[in-house]
Amino acid sequence: MTSERSNLQTLSALDRPNSYIGKTVPRPNLDRLMQGRGLYVSDIELPRMAHAVFLRSPHAHARIVGIETSAAKQMPGVIAVVSGSELSTVITPWVGVLSHLKGLKSAPQNAIAIDRVCWQGEAVAAVVAASRAQAEDAAEHVLVKYEELHAVTDMRAALDPATPVIHASLGDNLAFERIHDAGAVDQAFAESDEVVEAEFVFGRHTGVTLEPRAVVADWNAAEARLTIYQGTQAPHMVQNIAALHLGLKESQVRVVCKDVGGSFGIKVHIYADEMATYALSKLLRRPVKFVADRVESFNTDIHARDHRCKGKIGVKRDGTIMAFEIDDLTGIGPYSMYPRTSAIEANQVVNLVGGPYVTGNYRARARVVFQNKNVMCQYRAVGHPIACSVTEGLVDLAAMKIAMDPVEIRRRNLIADDAYPCASPSGLRFEQLSHHAALAKLVQMMDYDALRAEQAALRVSNIHRGIGIASFIEVTNPSAAFYGVGGAKISSQDGVAVRVDAQGSVICQTSITEQGQGSESLTAQIVGSVLGVSMDRVRVILGDTDNTPYGGGTWASRGAGIGGEAALQAAKTLRKNILDVAAAVLQSTPSELDIVNNVVVNVGDGEPRIDLSELARIVYFRPDTLPPGIQPELMATRHFVPREYPFAFTNGIQASWLELDPDTGFVKLLKHWVVEDCGTIINPQLVDEQIRGGVVQGLGAALFEKCVYDERGQLTNANMADYLVPMSGEMPDIDVGHVVTPTLESELGAKGAGEAGTAGAAAAVTNAVNDALRPFGAIITEIPLTPQVILTALGRI
């Protein structure tokens, strides 16, 4: 008995009986979404609500000579037609820079363009009417006279002295440059047996959330308060920015975020048309709704990944990687996006290239340039797909050069699993990674040798299959090092408040948000496990700045690791508070009591002592019966932010198995494998589904997705028929395995998992395509790998 008791007492809060941690349990509240009874922003209607549509520039770069609105104002249902200068009386412009990205510059951006438009799709006027159809009708009668200006479209020409400067006040079209030099790069290349170079080209693509961006802004003039209903990942950030630019206190702005139809980083930014909608509501003193249509989504949702990156690798004949060098160029549109800036992706590329490998010799330059295309900014796995594709592409090219197997060269160069803590050549600190364990698991899961044999056998009969491998590291659980230190009011900490209601159920308010990842579920699982309360008695409230603690929200793979730890600590405190009261009621001591399955029990024999609902009844309705001096606190709040490491790095490895048809250039994905290490796994099914969903977004980038601009800056495929996304017919089944290395920064030990799939998928596919192309002597370092790109590489077109 004694030993059993001491065992029980040494169990962590997560290992308790009936713990939900590490268990697949269905997410709460899915019925609402499956029955079509969710509440997305596009579903919201308010009394006196008007609808805004934006008239958008047809030119990539033009001076606005004049706007004639009188005819539009006479159209049925029209409430107002508002230009940029008129709106500027209620909202101030912004500049998307952060002080820790040294030298980053951008120009002031207005909610609606004033005098000049800088990309095709920038709003030039808003039409507000009783219905959206009426607003669209009237928008056709707004006459805008433009004087077209030279459009800077090719990022390679943006820095030429002959190219016009988009924002004269900035002096040139260079937004940001970073140079990094570590180790002895020149010497390492000189000592290499082989040096391989390639240029990697990444198509500009976008998030294509199925629910377009949408906002309902409700300025209540009598309360002097603005309520913003928006599908955002970061409600407190939106609150701060809206207040700042509308001249309000944050307490005058409430941001409510109900169901969100996909986000992936698209909905973590502040968009000009959303700012305009807040301002229109204030100007017109009534609720105003804006829902982007699909064409607007393509033209104004942030784009990502438009990079051209030259890469170089040096390798010894024994496979030792000697050095990496890159020169990355990216075009971000005419403005650095607000408030997270558009320099983060290039900065991440510099941070992450070579990250999984031992070599300390690394030189990098990244340049970020302005151009007259839609804005670019952070989308799922920011920078990772670029860095991973360049690194893993170079590693495969080096292996090919020295005739070494791709698995073997990685085995010889990945940082050893017992080498931690250590740092990458770019200075990133790694707490503990598991590259070799992951590689070993991947090789076993995919039965690598058998697959190689199958590949060789099929080549004889002219069937060309390829295997591609890609190791990666992933930034998760970011501390204030990401944005806060640069002056952005984007919180890196999160808070959770937990309380017991009068019937013994638990209400939990968290500052992380839900866009389908499972934030609500992981919070309920943690709180239920720590408290000893069944999940059906835990209700989670998210996405409301009036009703949750202050915090960052859900982005950068931070929800589980940061918000989850806050939930754990809040629940631990509440558990102690409950047991203190229970001990007083039961004339026991807290250490002799536990809570199991909604009942306070004896630790020793598990005997039920008092139901949580009965305890709550006493606390709330008969406090007079409690012993003197007892003041129950059946509510607890805790916050958390990582302090020791700026980021909790995770790692993993992916493999692709595909078949390439050299006659048509078509690629058929046959199978995909992922092994990743996100530390403590709270819900295995949810983690696996994050990985799978992330992989498929990476596969879209690898094979299909590209925003095609012409030389005048016109987006030529801004619809879902011409811009291809992954559909069920083309996607493979994806096997997911795990290595578990909890972070010691938190008691929970969870790291992020949301971006790992996207980080490495395209690299694995590109390497597999090049593996399949081996008999033809062709190498491709460009995505998307369309039939045209493949047939061109094969010299067939």
Partner: protein, 161 residues
């Protein structure tokens, strides 16, 4: 041509009479006039499948059909097939398999899946993927959805996979 037109139709078994503009599409009619917001609008040009509903027993893209074309028709939406219990087992399989994340595609996905299972009681994975190939999901990567439909098919057929 731009005057409102009177229509009478059945929506989820209820008789609905309305005057609709000729240009109003069925998706907007369901969402804005009848407040059946489970039918979602994703692309408004018939590609994404989020607005899938049943008209006289066949699934259609409600963004590509005009409300005036539904005179005398029987429309069924996600709210109707949920309340009738027709797809309760499918919804249960989606829940168990986490075959939805943001849920925006889910009503259309369920309508398409039920259509397949009515036509073809035991589809293989390739057939499931083919039938769903007009329904876009950005969150899941589709595998969980295919799994959920496959397991529902097996259960309905009284067999185990």
């Amino acid at each position: 041509m731009t005057d409102a037109v009177a229509v009478a139709l059945s929506v989820n078994g209820e008789l609905v009479e309305a005057n609709v503009l000729p240009r109003l599409n069925l998706a907007d009619f369901l969402r804005e006039h009848l407040k059946l917001t489970g039918t979602h609008v994703g692309c408004e040009h018939g590609v994404c499948g989020a607005c899938t509903v049943r008209v006289n027993g066949d699934i259609v893209r409600s963004c590509l059909m005009l409300a005036v074309q539904t005179h005398n028709a029987a429309i069924e939406t996600i709210e109707g097939v949920s309340d009738s219990g027709e797809i309760a087992d499918l919804q249960s399989a989606f829940r168990e398999r986490n075959a939805l994340q943001c849920g925006f595609c889910t009503p259309g996905m369920l309508m398409a899946a039920q259509d397949l299972l009515k036509q073809s009681p035991c589809p293989d994975r390739e057939q499931i993927r083919e039938h769903l190939s007009g329904n876009y999901c950005r969150c899941t990567g589709y595998q969980a959805i295919v799994d959920a439909i496959e397991s529902t098919a097996w259960t309905r057929a009284g067999r185990r996979p």
